[in-house]
Symmetry: C2
Subunit: 182 residues, 2 copies
DNA sequence: TCAAAACAAAACAGATCTGTACACCCCTGC
DNA sequence: GCAGGGGTGTACAGATCTGTTTTGTTTTGA
């Protein structure tokens, strides 16, 4: 049950974790930035790791809802429906405080130290793959192309951190069109 | 000038930074694991950030040398020369302690807190792109395909952390062949 | 009105972090 | 023999981290 104070804590934590990383962001900073007392923070989340998990769970749900809605609006649009998430990357990568993919960042920091966090990132990627497969099938393409689209998507998100990547996005859009129409 | 003790420190630091992350790995742990006294460590590297930079610089050089050598051995081999780095991903992703791309992990943790580290990761990606462009041109393909290959490469490295990705590598190899021959 | 719950602010405990200082050892060259 | 550089080991300073406790205030609801 989402209370407003809990949501506000998750907002602040997500922003700081995403921009500065998980280990580099202290509880004190989240507490100070959110204006909520530390006692309250630890009443809502029993530990920092629990807060990280809650942030990732909520963020994953948000991503899924956004992609599902866009997909439903473009139902039957053929290749345009597949390309839409990739076109959105233009906007995502130009946001201030952009720092790649939150789930991959979490997986990198907790790969061998927190299996629950790693598993949550894994499930998110699993969902992304299944989502792409569903879209491909519904628009008449072969589902195994999802295994090409998913690395492209994550790769563009990753590269955008260190490169001006609108050109890479454009080239990739063209490549996807080629791959699907051949 | 590489002294053996300095190289050994860099080996240990690279392994720990790569597996567990940069903020999560303390100087004490590098010191204990390498068996070198802390005083000696700080004689070779003036700070933890300097050690991180030295690790990344050496790792980047190693990657470049490996890719250059492979490329020179496959000179004139056409599409096989382009695919070779992607085929290597099978072995890389199955190594124990695999944790994605060291440079992207560093960029994620220091995106807004250490411009020098971020710049080093950026330069590495820049070199990767130029390397792919050179290979493409030399084998008679159009250089702008590098902007598709690079996200694919980084995306596969990133995905392999949370997915059994040999299937993704295979599908991507097929997709690259399609893209280059069309 | 009053009891109970929620919250804020701050101090605190204990651990860990980076980086420095100090004392000792060991080995090589003279 | 011995001076000196490089190394070890340990203790330490000061900061920061997670998480708890304490105290007092504010809000809420019967």
């Amino acid at each position: 049950m989402p209370t407003p104070r809990r949501e506000h804590l998750l907002d602040t934590a997500e922003q700081l974790f995403y921009r500065d990383g998980f280990h580099a962001t202290g509880i004190d900073r989240i507490q100070a930035e959110s204006g909520v007392a530390k006692t309250t923070l630890y009443k809502h989340f029993q530990s920092k790791d629990a807060l990280i998990l809650a942030v990732l769970e909520r963020a994953s749900t948000k991503v899924r809802e956004t992609l599902e809605q866009q997909a439903s609006e473009l139902s039957g649009a053929g290749i345009r429906r597949i390309l839409a998430p990739f076109e959105d990357l233009h906007g995502i990568c130009e946001e201030s405080d952009f720092n790649g993919c939150l789930f991959n960042n979490a997986a990198a920091e907790f790969m061998y130290s927190n299996p629950a966090i790693r598993a949550l990132a894994s499930e998110h990627m699993q969902w992304m793959q299944a989502f792409l497969e569903r879209l491909l099938l519904e628009e008449g393409f072969s589902a195994d192309k999802a295994l090409v689209l998913l690395p492209m998507y994550e790769g563009l998100l990753t590269l955008a951190r260190v490169q001006e990547s609108s050109a890479a996005i454009e080239c990739t859009l063209g490549a996807i069109a080629t791959l699907l129409t051949v």
